[in-house]
Amino acid sequence: MKKVFFFVIVPLVFLVGVLVVFMAITREKPPEGIKLALVDTVATNFPKDEKLARKELGNAEKSLLKLKPVKPYIVIDTHANRIYYRTEDSIYLDAVCSTGSGSELIDSVTKRKWVFNTPRGVFKIHNKIKDPWWRKPDWEFIANSEPIPKNESDRMDGNVMGDFAMGFGDGFFIHGTIYERLLGINVTHGCVRLGTEDLHKLVELTPIGTSVYIF
C-alpha cells in the first residue's frame, strides 16, 4: 500500500500540480481597455412563427445586401501595399502600390505636427486629373529645412505625380510616381502611388464616384 502511495499517487499528484502551475504561468492576460461585448446579439426578437421568422430573416439578408456596392470598387490594402479594382466576387485589377509611411513630422518653430498616414475608411473618387502638378505643402519645405515660399508658383512641381491623379478627398490622390522601384514600400506622405501601366489601367476602369475602401 505504501509502495502504491509513493510510486503512483505522489508522482501523479506532483505531475498534476506541475501542469496546473504551468498552465497558470503561461496563461496570457487579456489586454486592458478591450470591450468584450462589442455587439449585443443576445437580445434578438426573432419570431417563433415560421412565416414571420422567414420574413424577418429575409429582411435582414436584404439589409445586408444593400450595403454591398452594386458597381466595382477600389480597395487599398495599406498593410501589403496593394490596390484592387474589384467586386465582391471578382478582381479586375491587382497591383502593387505605395501608401503612407505613418511617420511624424513636427515643425520645431510652430510646433505644427503631421502624421503621414493614408486615411482609412470609405471614400469616393472625386476627380481625375491628366498631367497633374503637385502643390508642395508646408511640410515638404519643413522636412527639407527650406523656407516656406511666399510665391504660390514656387510650390508647384509638374514632374512627380505621373500621368494621372484621382482625388479621393482631403487632398489625397491615387497618382503615378517617378520612383517605381519603391513601389510596395510605405514611402508616401498619405497619397497612393502606382506604377505607370497600372495607373493607366485603373484610370480607364474607374468612373468618377467610384467607392474607395482603404484598410
Binding site: 503561461t26 496570457e28 470591450k35 462589442l38 443576445v42 434578438t44 450595403l67 490594402d77 498593410h79 519603391l182
Partner: protein, 232 residues
Amino acid sequence: MQSMMTSARRLSGPIVGVLTVSLLVSCAGKKQPGATTTSTDKQWDQQQAEIQYRVLQAELKLAKSNQAYLVLDFQRNQLEIKLQGTTVWNYPMTIEKTEASELHEFSERFMGSQQNVVRPLLFKYLFAASSRTPDSILAIVSGATMFPSELLQRTIPERFQLKWSDDIVLDIRTDIVGKPGSKWKNTMVDIRQAIAGHLGDALVSVKMPKDNAITLYRAAVIGLPTLIYPAS
C-alpha cells in the same frame, strides 16, 4: 402470358419515370453539408435560422462603423476582412489538420452559452517571420525619404496565431521559412496548446500564401471585432 408481359412493359415506363422524378426531388431537397438556413429554404430549421439572424444583425451593427472587422465564415470556408459590409480582403480557407467536428467545436466555443457571434481579438502571437525588404535597401530608402526604416519594413509571417477569449485559436501558417522570435517562448506556447487541446481548446489551423498572411497579420489588431458565421 404474353399479355402479362406486355402490361408489365407498359407499367415499367411510368414506374421508372415516377422513381426518377422522386429521386430528383429528394436530391434537390437535400441540404448540402455546410449549407445554412436562409429565408428561402424549403426545410426550415428554427434554431439554425435564429443563429443566422443573430449573425446578420451583428454584421449590420458592425457595418455601421467605419472600422474594419474580421469574418470567420465557416459556412463558406472563407476568411474575410470587411469594411461597412463590403469585402475588402478575402481568403478561401485551406483548413489543415482540422476535422468537421473541430470546426463545430470552434464555432460552439466562439458563440458560448450566450450564442454571441462577435468577439474582440485579444492576442496575436508571431512564432517566426522574415523581412520583406532587405535591411540594406531600406537603409538607403530611409536615408532618401527621411522616414524611419522600422516603419517601412513589412514582416512576412511563417506562423502566427490569433486568439480570442476562452482559448479560441486560429493558427496561420505560410510556406516561407522565417526566423523565430524566441524558440523558448514558441515551445512554451506549443506545449501549453498541446495540453489545452486535450482539455478542450478550440484550434483551427489555416494555411495561406505569404501575401495574404502579411495583410491578415497586420490588419489583425488587438480588439479587432470578429464575427463568426458558424459551421452548421
